[in-house]
C-alpha cells in the first residue's frame, strides 16, 4: 500500500533550519512546563481537585467580573477548583501518552524490525498485519472495547497501546531494510556475528532516532485520542479530571459561560502542539528527513 513504501532515507543533512530549531526548543519548553505541572502541581496548588462545593458552582476565573484568587481559573459545575483539576489532568494526559507510546512502540518496533530484517514470508506477514490494522476504524474499536468492558485508566492505556503501533512498525521496517544493506552490517555478518547481536548492536541504535521522532508524534496522537474517548464518556472514568472529560462535563454550560471549555481545551491544544513541535524539531535537529 502506498503509505507503507517509505522513500529511501535521505542522507543526514546535518543543517537544521533555524526556525525549526526554535520549534524544538519551544516544544521542549511547553512539554517541560506541563511535566513540571504534572509532577509538582498537585503539591503546589492548595485545592483538592475532587472536593465538591455546591455553593461555589461555576465561579468565573479571576480575570473576569466576580472572579477571585481563591479559584484563579474558576470552578466547574460541582464547585471543584478548575486549576487543581487542570494540573491533575496534566498528569493523566502525560501518563497515558507515555504508557501508550511505550506499549505501542514495543509492539510496532518488534514487528517492523523482524519484517525488515528477515524479509520474505516474515515480511509478508508483518505487512499484512499492518494493512489489517490500518483498515480498522481506531476510534470506533477503542470506544467499543471500553464500552463493552467498562471504562478504566489501565484499559484505555492497553487499548490505545494495542491499536497505535502501526507507524512504529512502518518506520521500523523501512529503516531496518535500509540499515540491513549497509556496509557495516555486511561486515559484521562476514565476521560471524550472530543475528541477534547484529539486530541489537547494529540495527537498533541506527533506527532509534527515527523511532524517537515517531514516538513524539504517536504520544500526541494518544493524548488526543484519550481526550476524545473521555469526551464521549468512554475513556478515563469520572471523577478523574481528564481534560477531555472536563470538556464533556462543561459542554452543557458552554453556551452561557464559554470559558468553561476554553481552559481544558487550550491546555490540550498547547500540550499536543508542544509535543508536535518537539517531534518536528527533533527530526530536523537530528538531521533526518522522513516523508510525513
Amino acid at each position: 500500500m502506498s503509505e507503507l513504501t517509505a522513500p529511501p532515507l535521505a542522507a543526514s543533512t546535518g543543517t537544521a533550519q533555524p526556525l525549526r530549531s526554535f520549534g524544538f526548543w519551544l516544544g521542549a519548553l511547553i512539554l517541560g512546563i506541563v511535566a513540571f505541572a504534572a509532577l509538582f502541581g498537585p503539591a503546589l496548588v492548595p485545592q483538592d481537585p475532587f472536593a465538591q462545593d455546591l455553593s461555589q458552582r461555576l465561579v468565573v476565573p479571576v480575570w473576569m467580573e466576580g472572579g477571585s484568587w481563591a479559584h484563579p481559573l474558576g470552578t466547574d459545575q460541582l464547585g471543584r477548583d478548575y486549576l487543581a483539576r487542570l494540573v491533575y489532568g496534566a498528569r493523566i494526559s502525560l501518563v497515558i501518552g507515555l504508557a501508550t507510546v511505550i506499549t505501542s512502540g514495543l509492539i510496532g518496533t518488534v514487528l517492523g524490525v523482524l519484517g525488515g530484517f528477515f524479509g520474505g514470508k516474515v515480511d509478508d506477514v508483518v505487512l499484512f498485519a499492518i494493512t489489517c490494522r490500518l483498515s480498522i476504524p481506531v476510534v470506533l474499536v477503542a470506544l467499543a472495547v471500553v464500552g463493552l468492558m467498562g471504562s478504566s485508566f489501565t484499559l484505555v492505556i492497553l487499548v490505545l497501546g494495542l491499536l497505535l503501533w502501526d507507524r512504529f512498525a512502518v518506520v521500523a521496517r523501512a529503516t531496518t531494510m535500509q540499515v540491513r544493506n549497509l556496509d557495516y552490517v555486511s561486515a559484521a555478518w562476514c565476521a560471524g556475528t550472530s543475528r541477534t547481536s547484529i539486530l541489537c548492536r547494529e540495527v537498533l541504535p541506527n533506527i532509534a532516532t527515527h523511532l524517537a521522532v515517531v514516538a513524539t508524534l504517536e504520544m500526541a496522537l494518544a493524548i488526543l485520542l484519550e481526550a476524545a474517548l473521555s469526551f464521549l464518556g468512554l475513556g478515563v472514568p469520572p471523577p478523574l479530571p481528564s481534560w477531555g472529560l472536563m470538556i464533556a462535563e462543561a459542554k452543557d454550560y458552554m453556551f452561557f459561560s464559554p470559558w468553561v471549555i476554553m481552559t481544558p481545551g487550550l491546555a490540550l491544544f498547547v500540550l499536543v502542539l508542544g509535543i508536535n513541535l518537539l517531534g518536528d524539531g527533533l527530526r530536523d535537529v537530528l538531521g533526518t528527513r522522513d516523508a510525513r
Binding site: 483498515s135 476504524p137 481506531v138 470506533l140 472495547v145 510525513r292
Partner: protein, 305 residues
C-alpha cells in the same frame, strides 16, 4: 497491470476476511454477552433465557461461522435495541456519513492544495513558514473542541449556521470544516513536498527553457506529477474521516453511521457495533484499493515486478 490488479484484489479480500474475524472477536471480548444484554438486575434464569434466545449458548466457532456466512451475504443480523435489520439501519445512516466525509474532503483539498503549492513556490520564505504553522495548528487541534468552539462562535454568537441535526447543506458546513482540519495538515505537507520535488526536476527546467508561462508550468506539469501521492493520501484521509466521524457526528448530532455506532455501544447492541466496524473497514479497504489502482494506472513504475 492485470496481475497487479489481481494481486491487490486478493490482498484486499484477505484483509476483509481478517477484519470480519476481528469485528466478531471485538464484541466477544468482554466475556459473557448474555450478562451484558440482560442488564444488572437480571436473575440467573433471565440470563440463561437470553443466552438461548440469542444463540449465545452455541460454541464460539459455530457463532463465528454463522456470522461469516450471513455477513458475506449482507445479512448483519437484527439490532437488539431498534428491532430492525442492521443492514437497513446502516443503509439509512450511511448517506449522511458519506456526505459529511465528502464535504470534509472537498474543503480539505480546496484549502490544502493551493496552500501547499503556494508554500512550495515560495519555499523558505515567510509564506512557507505560515503555511507550516497552519499545518501544525491543524494537527494539534482536538476535533471535538474545535467543533464546540465553532458552535459557539458561528452558531450561537454570529448565528450564521445551524448547530445540530441535518436539514440542509448548511448543517454540513461546520462539521465539514472540523473534519477538514484533521486532513489538511497531511495533504498540505504532501502537496508542498511533492511540488518542491517536481519543481526542481529536469522536465520543469525544460519547460522553463521552452518559455512556458509560470501558470502553465505549475498547473500542467508540476501539479500533475505531484498529484500522484496526493490522490492516494486523499483516499486514505477520506477513509480515516469516515472511520473517525463518530466524534463529529456526536458533537453535531448528525445521525450518521458513527452516531449509530455510539448509540449502540452505549446500549450494548452488539450486532450493530460489529456490523458498523466491518462496514467502515470495508469502505477503507475499498478506498485504498482504488487509490493503489489509480496510482498504478498513473505511474507504471508502481505496478511492481
Amino acid at each position: 497491470m492485470l496481475t497487479f490488479l489481481f494481486r491487490r484484489l486478493a490482498v484486499a479480500i484477505l484483509v476483509a476476511m481478517t477484519v470480519l474475524t476481528l469485528s466478531f472477536m471485538l464484541t466477544r471480548v468482554s466475556g459473557d454477552l448474555a450478562i451484558s444484554i440482560a442488564g444488572p438486575n437480571a436473575t440467573q434464569a433471565d440470563v440463561e433465557a437470553i443466552r438461548i434466545a440469542y444463540g449465545l449458548d452455541r460454541p464460539l466457532v459455530q457463532q463465528y461461522l454463522d456470522w461469516v456466512q450471513r455477513a458475506v451475504r449482507g445479512d448483519f443480523g437484527t439490532s437488539y435495541f431498534f428491532r430492525e435489520r442492521v443492514a437497513d439501519l446502516i443503509a439509512q445512516r450511511l448517506p449522511i456519513t458519506l456526505t459529511l466525509g465528502l464535504v470534509g474532503l472537498s474543503i480539505a483539498l480546496l484549502v490544502a492544495i493551493p496552500l501547499g503549492t503556494f508554500a512550495a513556490v515560495r519555499e523558505g520564505r515567510w509564506v512557507d513558514r505560515v503555511v507550516m504553522l497552519v499545518a501544525l495548528v491543524g494537527q494539534a487541534m482536538p476535533s471535538f473542541w474545535l467543533g464546540l468552539l465553532l458552535m459557539i462562535e458561528l452558531g450561537l454568537r454570529l448565528q450564521w449556521l445551524p448547530i445540530s441535526g441535518t436539514g440542509s447543506w448548511e448543517h454540513y458546513v461546520m462539521p465539514g470544516i472540523v473534519l477538514a482540519f484533521s486532513a489538511i495538515p497531511a495533504l498540505m505537507r504532501l502537496t508542498r513536498s511533492g511540488m518542491i520535488e517536481a519543481l526542481s526536476s529536469d522536465y520543469i527546467r525544460t519547460a522553463r527553457a521552452k518559455g512556458l508561462s509560470r501558470l502553465s508550468i505549475l498547473g500542467k506539469h508540476a501539479l500533475r506529477n505531484a498529484a500522484i501521492p496526493v490522490v492516494s493520501i486523499a483516499a486514505v484521509q477520506l477513509g480515516f474521516m469516515l472511520g473517525g466521524s463518530i466524534v463529529i457526528e456526536t458533537v453535531f448530532a448528525l445521525h450518521g453511521v458513527g452516531f449509530l455506532a455510539w448509540e449502540s455501544i452505549s446500549k450494548n447492541d452488539f450486532p450493530v457495533v460489529q456490523a458498523v466496524v466491518l462496514v467502515l473497514a470495508l469502505i477503507y479497504i475499498a478506498l485504498t484499493l482504488f487509490a493503489d489502482l489509480l496510482n498504478a494506472a498513473l505511474d507504471p513504475r508502481l505496478r511492481g515486478p
